[in-house]
Symmetry: C2
DNA sequence: CTGAAAGCGCTAACAT
DNA sequence: ATGTTAGCGCTTTCAG
């Protein structure tokens, strides 16, 4: 029923060579003469030979495979990141083993172990919201497997990471808002235990302090990075009749939650209450009103991570950790472009 | 520098057992007594043992790994599908090797070969827009590797697939529109070479014929499934001053392209021109106006595919191909809910 | 330039 | 209940 896979020895028998010669020829080893290489290759192709990945990697040093761990896939930011990682890998002849933690630290740990057991050459990871135990990263290090953190990075020394300049981006946005006249600014800040949550908060704080705008603690929320968190936070303020002029959402989904809540209670954006968020998505252009955001260079983030990781893989002895911060871009659309006159009165 | 990976024989030496005993104990083989199994496992854990995936799969029959090929990742539909596939796999103890064809048939073929060489137990695939050479699927079959087509399926006999009832879904939407009074209906139909394009078109045609609404050939476009195609098609009609009342977009991105074009030329949706599309996305709720759509049950699609594939893997002898059509759901939001009065005049 | 020998880490079949 | 033998398909010494 099922046709046998063609192996090196099949080709060897047919050509009366040893498997070693075939193996070398196929990999373009200089040992083999140009003529026989050519012959062997054409026969291999004709016979439909494909190397056995498992066997190859069991005996060879490297697998030419990179493991990736992300918290989510159906998500604008990570979707874009992953796609770029796959593109980069394809163009550089690497395979990708993608795993998804679903924001679950236990799952994340398991996936890292799986990647290790699959003998990936290196790992790129964006940790979960709740990752607190960093021991597993030490295990990776001890195994000598290069590791690059992307966007969500733990607070531990001697690591390589690529992230966006969250603080600077948040600062610019809030500074812009303040200059337009917004004073009552809330911040739905997500998890402050994780770098992106903390840094965005610090950028917010810095801008508020610089312009001596008081920070109202009741307007600073901590919780999550998803729609529900945006929705709930908004509703809480609404019920308390304590709404600000502008909400700075820590992520794009949080802003979406705000949109949902505002619509539900018949409040208009940006007339009654205004929103801006960290993180961009194409669809934001089509929202009503179009949502202003602090855009992240997803493709660059992915490329830089891969570049550093591959560099680390190829120079594991001399490599020194790299920490990269990429700049964001403030994109103004329908929200956060002018102060709402009603509030001035 | 890099700590050695702990192997079976390391444990064996420490415990004065053979590797076979260790191997069996770790896999819970009934050969080994309960007591020693427990002992061996605890020591293995203590030593930080992780099985070598490559070695295991090289000697064992199955890899407990499923290969997946999709045309895109940063895309609402495929993002959701992939996430569900990962979830299902995680809960059923399978690993996933995901590859992305980027709508490129060549790349697709390469990826399938890679998956084969990785000895995956089965493959789930959603083919590209342009896949015309189906020979590779025969290769997969000959190798005895179970294959399930998901959503985008080629027109070849004796295959398993899971898809949405595209024709029925399109029919319902157009029927609904006609009943509301829409007569001038355009269809941006994407690629009709592929099942989803063809079936959606046929559903459209069926509804139009049933209610004797003439189909204007100038309003039926073929091209792609992306934003650009929606934008370009709209613009062409706009320039020719030949706009319909309603545009039925073959995919959600195509509808987005229409939104973009309409806004650019200052036409209002749904007052001046109306839109409905095949395929749902959460964000559609937040569009202005909220976009009506024919929703696909992504989670079910993923689950069914996995279920069938795993069934096929486990019963490769007795298995018979399954063809599944899942029903869609018409979701009415801001568009396609009432006929535009201006047009009646 | 070519090949024989050894082994990567694991498991299946067959003893004991 | 435990171990021995053999081998998955490939690559890396090392001899010739």
């Amino acid at each position: 029923m099922s046709e046998k896979f063609v192996t090196l020895s099949d080709i060897a028998k047919r050509l009366n060579y040893s498997t070693v010669t075939i193996s070398k020829a196929l990999r373009g080893h200089s040992d083999i003469s140009h003529a026989t290489t050519k012959l062997i290759r054409s026969v291999a192709e004709e016979m439909g030979y494909t190397p056995n990945f498992m066997a190859r990697n069991l005996s060879a040093r490297r697998s030419n495979t990179i493991g990736v761990v992300v918290p989510k896939i159906a998500h604008f930011f990570f979707g874009a990141i992953i796609e770029s990682i796959y593109d980069y890998a394809f163009n550089h002849n690497y395979e990708i083993i993608l795993t998804v933690s679903q924001e679950d630290a236990e799952r994340e740990k398991k996936h890292i172990q799986t990647l290790l057991s699959m003998k990936v050459d290196g790992i790129i990871i964006s940790i979960t919201q709740e990752t607190k135990d960093y021991e597993i990263f030490n295990v990776v290090r001890k195994r000598g497997v290069p590791l690059v953190f992307l966007d969500r990075v733990p607070d531990i020394p001697d690591i390589s990471f690529v992230q966006v300049n969250d603080r600077e981006g948040a600062f610019q946005a809030i500074e812009h808002a303040i200059n337009l006249g917004y004073k009552n600014i809330a911040h739905f800040a997500g998890y402050s235990e994780i770098n992106i949550g903390m840094e965005r908060y610090l950028g917010f704080e810095e801008a508020m302090n610089k312009y001596k705008v008081p920070i109202n603690k009741e307007w600073v929320f901590h919780g999550g990075f998803g729609e529900k968190y945006g929705y709930d936070s908004f509703m809480k303020l609404y019920r308390e009749n304590n709404l600000p002029d502008l909400i700075f959402a820590v992520t794009y989904p949080v802003a979406l939650g705000v949109y949902m809540a505002a619509r539900e209670v018949n409040l208009n954006i940006p007339e009654d209450i205004d929103v801006i968020c960290f993180g961009g998505a194409e669809v934001q252009k089509f929202l009503s009103p179009p949502l202003s955001c602090i855009n992240q260079p997803t493709e660059l983030l992915a490329e830089k991570s891969m570049e550093i990781l591959i560099d680390n893989i190829n120079n594991s002895e001399s490599f020194v950790n790299k920490n990269i911060y990429l700049p964001t871009e403030l994109i103004l659309r329908g929200t956060c472009i002018k102060f709402n006159k009603k509030q001035i009165i």
